[in-house]
Amino acid sequence: MSTDRKIRVLVAKPGLDGHDRGARVIAYGLRDAGFEVIYTGLRQSPEQIAREAIQEDVDAVGLSILSGAHMALTGRVLELLREQGAEDIPVLVGGLIPEEDQQALRKMGVAGVFTAGTPIGEVAEFIASHVVVA
């Protein structure tokens, strides 16, 4: 018997920011969209995130950051994924990201930036369209 392939997404909050409303809502929403969401919650170090992404073989990594530390933290996550041969895993960033930083993040290699008001369906579709079918 073959099970349907499920899309797996890691949702994590790097750094010390404790406002997890957005991350939780996205986690519930993606679950209801049929995804398997590995939710690791608050205070994830970039090292933890990279490791989790690889062990769980996720199709996308979602970072939620509202503390303003998004440049440093995202940069480090991307670096670690690259070092561990997983730069093909798309990284999405959500939260409080000023316009100019959004562009900088994309230049760094972030696949998409999703700020407040983005419908969950849009995020789900984006992830689904970036999944490499194995």
Binding site: R24, L73, G117
Partner: protein, 582 residues
């Protein structure tokens, strides 16, 4: 003579049949989109019991006959006084970078006429009990607030408060929760150093750890152990800093995290009850310490009527709890003392077409003006969701909107204008009864601590947040410019102007580097022996549940132990909190 209830009910029934139904049929809609309330809408409305008078129990109509700010409103207008805070209140909430950066900012504000004390935002590293050289600090040093690693840093802030503005002349606010005891210890050490009696100090530490588990996430120790630290700060404040407020209980954060109005109220009350119990169990007199409890603000929303009813219900419920459950007799112990009343909440503002947030904030101010309490502030400034800080322009617009409501619209000229309204009293009762049910449920779980340990409160909030998201996405709730009226014919008004910063962003970028250098210097220069000794003593007192950690913390602070060193000792004794599973 009043009509009987039966007469009104009969009249209402025939009105529905003769006037409403035909109209509903004519417009071909399932039901009437509006409601109408009559005297029959409420059962047993006892004015004196439910409302009473402003300034008297149960304070439904307001804490005071009139608010202090209202007494001087006209005079203030004639003198053009900017509400940039007298000495009796803390200044504008702020803080960033190193303590030097923040001190310089405070001095700049003082140049512009600010007379308030420091209203300190700490960076997340400090809030979570880490030092700037911790691996956890990556990207976070000095970002959402000022970096405080040692007493040396803390002292630097207060270089802006000397002479006539010394610490006994201004109020200090600290938005700090898990390591609150340490910050208070630093304040005590500073007062001692300056020869200022602790009894003269004024201010408010946030010190509301329970909401951290529910909504804000900057906790360190498990809930029970955290309450022990609260107890120690409470007793210390009452004994040594009697003019300090003890806490700032924040329903605001809970609502912003997605809670419903009723959950905001219930969870805040449950938390408040837990804190009150700590005081009682520590042997303090309820009238004495409850009068030093404050509320940060409850949350808000765009639903004007509901937020007015909410404030009334909140005041009444807290008063009842403190008086009837805890036996208080001093009215000041029963009041909801909060610096902000009703408002719309930051999560009600939109990134899309941000100028609309002005209209939104005015609605919040109107709700405040009509439900009593603080000045009807048009909060937040419209550029809140941009994440770039508030510009001078948005602050000016906020101030003017507030002034227009007060002086042109006269919104604060009547205390509790909705008192006795059939609608508003029903709504107030409804909110109260829903919240009371929640409070009972939480009490049955062992109170706020139990309802955190079993994950109930954090999960309930996450669930409500999700439900709101779904309602918005399915257009059951409308958000203008976000999920409706977004067509191509709408003007997508965006902001093109740069935002004048009150501080130098370059400076912020170098903060981490500078802070690390300072921290290294402290570690080099201090006496390691003194530090080790003081940390050992801290461990001893932490291990003894009857002891207070405050004296040991003050010694640690003076020996220049770092914040993380102190927190780590306590981590060793108390353990660390577990995150809540979804």
């Amino acid at each position: 003579m009043e009509r009987t209830r039966k007469e009104i009910e009969r009249a209402e029934a025939s009105w529905k049949e003769e006037v409403v139904e035909p109209r509903v049929a004519r417009f071909k809609i399932p039901a009437s989109p509006t409601r109408f309330y009559t005297p029959a809408s409420q059962r047993d409305f006892d004015f004196l019991e439910k409302v009473g008078f402003p300034g008297q129990y149960p304070f439904t109509a307001g804490n005071h006959a009139f608010e202090a700010w209202r007494a001087y409103a006209e005079a203030g207008a004639r003198l053009g006084v900017r509400p940039d805070y007298g000495a009796s209140s803390a200044g504008r909430y702020g803080g960033y970078g190193t303590a030097e950066d923040y001190r310089d900012y405070l001095r700049a504000m003082q140049q512009r006429g600010s007379r308030g004390g420091p209203n300190v935002a700490f960076d997340l590293v400090t809030q979570c009990g880490f030092d700037s050289d911790s691996p956890n600090a990556l990207g976070e040093v000095g970002r959402v607030g000022v970096a405080i690693d040692t007493y040396r840093d803390f002292r630097v802030i207060y270089e802006a408060f000397t002479g006539e503005r010394d610490i006994d002349q201004v109020a200090s606010n600290f938005t700090i929760n898990a390591p609150c005891a340490i910050i208070l210890a630093m304040l005590a050490a500073l007062a001692e150093e300056r020869g200022i009696p602790l009894a003269k100090l004024r201010g408010t530490p946030q010190n509301d750890i329970l909401k951290e588990f529910i909504a804000r996430g900057t906790y360190i120790y498990p809930p029970r152990e955290s309450m022990r630290l609260f107890r120690d700060t409470l007793v210390f404040c009452r004994r040594h800093m009697p003019r300090m407020n003890v806490n700032s209980i924040g329903g605001y954060h809970i609502r912003e995290a997605g809670a419903t109005r009723e959950q905001d109220l219930a969870f805040s009350l449950a938390n408040g009850i837990a804190y009150l119990k700590e005081g009682v169990e520590a042997g303090l007199e309820i009238d004495d310490f409850a009068s030093k409890f404050t509320f940060n603000a409850f949350g808000g929303s765009m639903q004007v009527y509901h937020e007015i009813a909410f404030q009334r219900a909140a005041r009444r419920m807290w008063a009842r709890i403190v008086k009837e459950r805890f036996g208080a007799t001093d009215p000041h112990a029963m009041m909801v003392r909060q610096p902000i009343g009703a408002h719309v909440g930051c999560t009600s503002t939109t990134l899309q077409r941000p100028l609309n947030n002005i209209a939104r904030s005015v609605i919040g101010g109107m709700a405040c003006g009509m439900s009593g309490g603080s000045m009807p502030a048009a909060y937040p400034p419209y550029d809140e969701p941009l994440g770039l800080g508030h510009s001078q322009e948005s602050i000016q617009l906020q101030l003017d909107a507030t002034r227009i409501m007060i002086y042109e619209a006269g919104i604060s000229d009547v205390a509790d204008p909705w008192a006795g309204s059939y609608f508003m009293e029903s709504l107030t009762d409804e909110i109260e009864s829903a919240a009371a049910e929640e409070v009972d449920r939480i009490e049955s779980m062992g109170g706020a601590v139990g309802a955190i340990e079993n994950g109930y409160m954090p999960r309930a909030v996450a669930q409500s947040a999700y439900e709101r998201q779904k309602r918005v996405e399915q257009m059951e709730d409308f958000v203008v410019g976000v999920n409706c009226f977004t067509g191509e014919n709408e003007l997508d008004l965006s902001l093109n102007r740069g935002v004048e910063k009150l501080y130098d962003p370059e400076h912020l970028r170098s903060a981490e580097e500078r802070q690390l250098a300072k921290l290294a210097a402290v570690k080099r220069e201090r006496s390691q022996g003194d530090v080790s000794r003081s940390l050992r003593a801290l461990e001893q007192s932490a291990k003894d549940p009857e002891a207070s950690v405050m004296p040991a913390l003050i010694d640690c602070v003076k020996s220049e132990a770092t914040l993380q060193e102190m927190c780590d000792v306590m981590r060793g004794v108390f353990g660390e909190a577990e995150p809540t599973k979804l």
